[in-house]
Symmetry: C2
């Protein structure tokens, strides 16, 4: 966002000109990829939405990441020795472009005309990912549910530059994203309404402060 770099244009170019990529479509609910074996795969969302999900031993679901148009995910972003089973699931019919980090750095070099440009853009793309993750960490380090909710609303609100926001999740999923219990979160939402911090109409929230 903050760097003058046209990501959409970039992805279009990538799709049409790099021989090392491939594109696949997924239906809602399908598993796009699992992070078990360590490949250095990078994936771009061309259409639709996807969630990066972890289930722990107690069956708790955590939405580690939520990806939409232009977002990037993949095993290359995770440590090799992760003992968590993560997988990415299509939330809506989705079109995903796959390629390997190594192919960008090495193999593609000879044939692909677009290659130099890709390499230049790569650090910008990964940098954007870093910013996304730091934003998420800001959220997760908040000590209680109220602060997590307010932080989340603030982020959406300042992104859209609007005091009224639309939650891009079901409330069930939002709880999994904030890493809190759903019923406790709903309870806290009620408190926020009582205390005059927010108004709530379905999946729309208006910040009153």
């Amino acid at each position: 966002m903050q760097y003058n770099f046209n990501k959409t244009l970039f992805i279009e170019k990538l799709k049409s000109s790099c021989s090392k990529t491939h594109v696949r479509n997924f239906k809602k609910g399908e598993t796009i990829t699992t992070y078990i074996e360590k490949r250095n795969q990078i994936c771009f969302v061309l259409k639709g939405e996807a969630d990066l999900i972890r289930y722990d031993l107690n069956g708790n679901k955590t939405i580690i990441g939520h990806f939409t148009l232009g977002d990037v995910f993949g095993e290359v972003f995770y440590p090799a020795n992760t003992n968590n089973e993560l997988f990415v699931e299509a939330k809506k019919n989705a079109e995903i472009l796959f390629l390997l980090y190594d192919d960008i750095q090495e193999k593609c070099k000879k044939g692909c005309q677009f290659h130099e440009e890709l390499k230049e853009s790569l650090s910008d793309i990964i940098l954007e990912k870093v910013i996304e993750l730091n934003t998420r960490i800001e959220l997760l380090t908040k000590r209680n549910t109220r602060d997590k909710l307010l932080s989340y609303f603030d982020i959406l609100s300042s992104n859209r530059m609007n005091k009224t926001i639309t939650i891009p999740f079901s409330y069930t999923d939002l709880a999994d994203y904030l890493s809190v219990d759903r019923s406790a979160m709903t309870r806290e939402l009620s408190h926020l309404i009582e205390d005059g911090f927010i108004k709530k109409y379905g999946n729309k929230i208006t910040l009153l402060y």
Copy 2:
């Protein structure tokens, strides 16, 4: 770690050959930088250790990140519209190399012999940052203090490939890093000992599972 890229060598080269960088020494406790105004600064730890810290309105301290030799931090990794005041503090006498992301991408291009190599390495460096942040998110999404502690110990243990680990923090700071109350964490540590999960000798912990 996982890419065959020599970071130490890289930093040495960077320090000696790029005219756009500068290096400064800090004493323990000194503030290295604050993330208020938005510059696209990148900083490398050449010596010592540093913490990225946030204080919330209630005075709670959170250690957002902990950096040692070779680690990278800086405003460039944060969204422009962050309303949190973050700052980086030297934990031990530290030597820090500063440069601007824009200088790598643009201005340095003409004069600096090392520039091309720097650009190639840049995406590897930022990628390493992404992996570090995803590891941190795995930790923070754990639902309770016990799981956070065990995850943290696991990460240290598998990095050092040793069942006995040395906590690189004071326990006070570890609590701030895990985003939990110190006394609650100490209590949970006692429970982990009682339940036979760990043994504890000062700042050394042995995993018994």
